[in-house]
């Protein structure tokens, strides 16, 4: 179980880190006055500082209101639900990079329907493949927008 206090602290630290990254990145390009006005790093530098300062403000507010923030941010049941949604989604992205979006889409829909929807494998697989075909027809044929493809499309000669 995660409480709201830790979640606030973690997020504020993260945003401060992003702000700091912008500040450090900007220093490389000069933050002063160049031949053509302010140098390219100037604007990101001050924006980064602003983010760091506001994150510090958030940290300060979180710590001073610590007692009001002991509520549950994420309980065990919710965490399981979020994980069961996020993990297949991450797998979908990984597979999409390797095998292309169509194959990944078909596998992903099949998996979720079978495991989380408790549908029969044949129904799930048919829906998955059907969805991939519909996406192909709408995007590649209808709008002529090419999607990321993999070895299967190459084998079928769909380029």
């Amino acid at each position: 179980m995660i409480n709201r206090f830790s979640a606030e602290i973690a997020t504020a630290t993260l945003t401060a880190g992003l702000g700091l990254t912008a500040v450090i990145g900007a220093l490389e390009f000069g933050i002063g006055w160049g031949d053509a006005g302010p140098e390219p790093g100037a604007f990101p530098f001050y924006i980064g500082l602003l983010v760091v300062a506001a994150s510090a403000g958030n940290l300060f507010q979180t710590i001073t209101h610590r007692h009001g923030l002991q509520s549950v941010f994420l309980d065990r049941e919710q965490a399981v639900r979020v994980a069961s949604f996020l993990i297949p989604m991450v797998a979908f992205v990984v597979i999409a990079r390797l095998l292309g979006l169509y194959v990944a889409a078909a596998l992903y829909l099949t998996f979720v329907m079978r495991v989380q929807g408790k549908y029969r494998l044949i129904t799930s697989a048919a829906s998955g493949i059907g969805a991939a075909v519909v996406f192909y027809l709408v995007l590649e044929v209808g709008f002529q927008v090419p999607l990321l493809k993999g070895p299967l499309e190459a084998a079928l000669g769909l380029y």
């Binding site: 992003l18 390219p40 403000g57």
Partner: protein, 504 residues
């Protein structure tokens, strides 16, 4: 009168079979994204945008704005039938809409919602017709410092008027500006903030951010809450519709008041969500039937719906005339305009009058088309929500990632969308506002250019932002908006030191 002639010309542009067909497709797609959880107006428009890159700008903007109207209507539908707001701006509609539906008045509630929404939108469009060319003419006097002041004003009002903690608003906004700065620097043409990653050379697209933050983030949140849709079955019969139309004039005061609130909040970046809540609150306070609110009072449906749509449509005005969008969806559309090679702002009225007035005319037509179509198709769309989430959820995920890929055809964007999705989930749970981030990503380069050009004009002195009456006024209003609420809290705390008020 000049505007009226331009508008008639605009109708000539908008009223072709092709454009009306596009309106119908747009509205249908819009209702679909409005009804589906996790998809809303901003990311519906983001998903569709890459498909319009090859279209003519007039046709493309008609498709996108129609989708926007449809999404607003779809959001109200789920509020009334399922007690699930499809859009943040239709939360207030659930207060009385859902009780009405439970009492067997679903058809009346829907009809009232759609008609008052249509009325509100119409008021917004009329406002645009009257004011836009005037605002644009005024804005022709702006140069870089004034533009920077207008952007400052827009972001200051987020900080001061937003419901979230001002620090969280600033973090969200600052991150937006930082993301916008990644990649090519528009002034010097050099690369920056890429940290050696080739993938970051062409920058981070705001469309990816919107798809991740609004789409995937929202889906994760929906999953976490566990899904159970207890929808109310509805049949919209023509007789009920006609009967309900007859009761509409009874609410004329609410309609006018809510439109006024909506238009104001739409032009200033208060946005549709704030407008609908404010309008609901006022209607309740001023009503003679206060106690009926929350238990199925028709006026409680009319007020937020009118304001929501009035704000939604009038948010287009500052986008067109000044280049400062009034809502997240308007920001996405403005990004679209820039991708099509159009430069939103006063020059657009001079360079592309056919585009501007065609768009405005299409907003009249689009809303009428939307009201008719939504009334005709709503039972169909309501049944979509009865499809189990194990099927519809992954399909929405796939659509989001396909949308992210089509933006630029870069596989790296899939990872970015995923990261933004997780960030969106965290931000939503911790009450960080997302709209300022999107606005900052769209306006980032323009705001930076305005700032740098002002600095060049003044040789590095910040005093240029106080150099004439116009820019000084804008800056003072901006500062007042940003710091006013904080100062008044501080003052009241100093006056009564014992009460520990929490600055939310």
């Amino acid at each position: 009168m000049e505007n009226f002639a331009s508008l008639l010309h605009g109708f000539g542009v908008a009223l072709t079979t092709y454009h009306v067909t596009l309106m119908m497709i747009g509205v249908l797609l819009g209702i679909l994204v409005g009804v589906l959880p996790g998809l809303g107006a901003p990311n519906g428009v983001s998903l569709l945008l890459p498909l319009t890159f090859t279209m003519d700008p007039v046709a493309a903007i008609i498709l996108l704005t129609s989708m926007y109207w449809g999404a607003l209507f779809g959001g109200s539908t789920t509020s009334i039938l399922f007690n699930i707001p499809g859009e943040p701006s239709s939360v207030a509609t659930t207060f009385d809409g859902y009780p009405m539906a439970r009492q067997g008045q679903a058809a009346q509630a829907l009809t009232l919602a759609f008609l008052s929404a249509g009325f509100g939108a119409l008021m917004g469009v009329i406002l645009i017709t009257i004011l836009s060319s005037w605002v644009a003419k005024f804005a022709l006097r702006f140069s870089s410092p004034e533009y920077f002041a207008v952007y400052f004003l827009a972001f200051a009002s987020f900080v001061g008027l937003g419901a979230a903690s001002p620090f969280k608003t600033i973090v969200s906004m600052g991150l937006g500006f930082a993301f916008a700065a990644v990649g090519m620097d528009t002034v010097s043409g050099g690369l920056r903030l890429t940290f050696g990653f080739n993938e970051l050379l062409s920058g981070i697209s705001f469309l990816i951010a919107v798809i991740g933050l609004f789409g995937i983030g929202e889906l994760v949140l929906t999953m976490e809450e566990g899904l159970h849709f207890d929808g109310i079955k509805v049949r919209v019969r023509a007789r009920d519709v006609v009967k309900t139309i007859a009761t509409l004039p009874r609410y004329w005061m609410t309609l006018l008041r809510s439109s006024a609130i909506g238009c104001w909040m739409g032009i200033t970046p208060g946005g549709p969500t704030a407008a609908s809540f404010m309008s609901y609150g006022l209607a309740k306070r001023l009503s003679r039937r206060k106690d009926a609110f929350g238990h199925g009072e028709p006026e409680g449906v009319v007020a937020p719906e009118t304001a929501d749509h009035a704000a939604g449509s009038s948010a287009i005005l500052p986008m067109l005339a000044l280049g400062v969008p009034g809502s997240a969806t308007a920001a996405v559309m403005m990004g679209g305009l820039m991708i099509w090679g159009l430069n939103p702002g006063p020059m657009l009225f001079i360079e592309r009058p056919d585009f501007v007035w065609g768009l405005i005319a299409s907003m009249y037509l689009g809303n009428i088309v939307a009201v008719l179509m939504v009334l005709a198709t709503i039972p169909l769309f309501a049944s979509i929500l009865r499809i189990p989430f194990a099927i519809i959820g992954p399909i929405i995920v796939i659509v989001c990632f396909i949308g992210a890929y089509t933006v630029a055809g870069r596989p790296f964007d899939l990872w970015l969308a995923l990261l933004f999705g997780v960030a969106g989930y965290l931000f939503k749970k911790l009450d960080y506002p997302i709209a300022p981030l999107v606005l900052a990503m769209v306006l980032g380069d323009k705001a930076e250019d305005a700032f740098r050009q002002s600095m060049i004009m003044s040789k590095g002195s910040l005093s240029i932002f106080w150099s004439n009456g116009l820019v000084a006024t804008l800056m003072v209003i901006g500062l007042a908006l940003a710091f006013g609420p904080a100062l008044s809290t501080l003052a009241s705390r100093l006056a009564r030191p014992k009460t520990s008020s929490v600055a939310a």
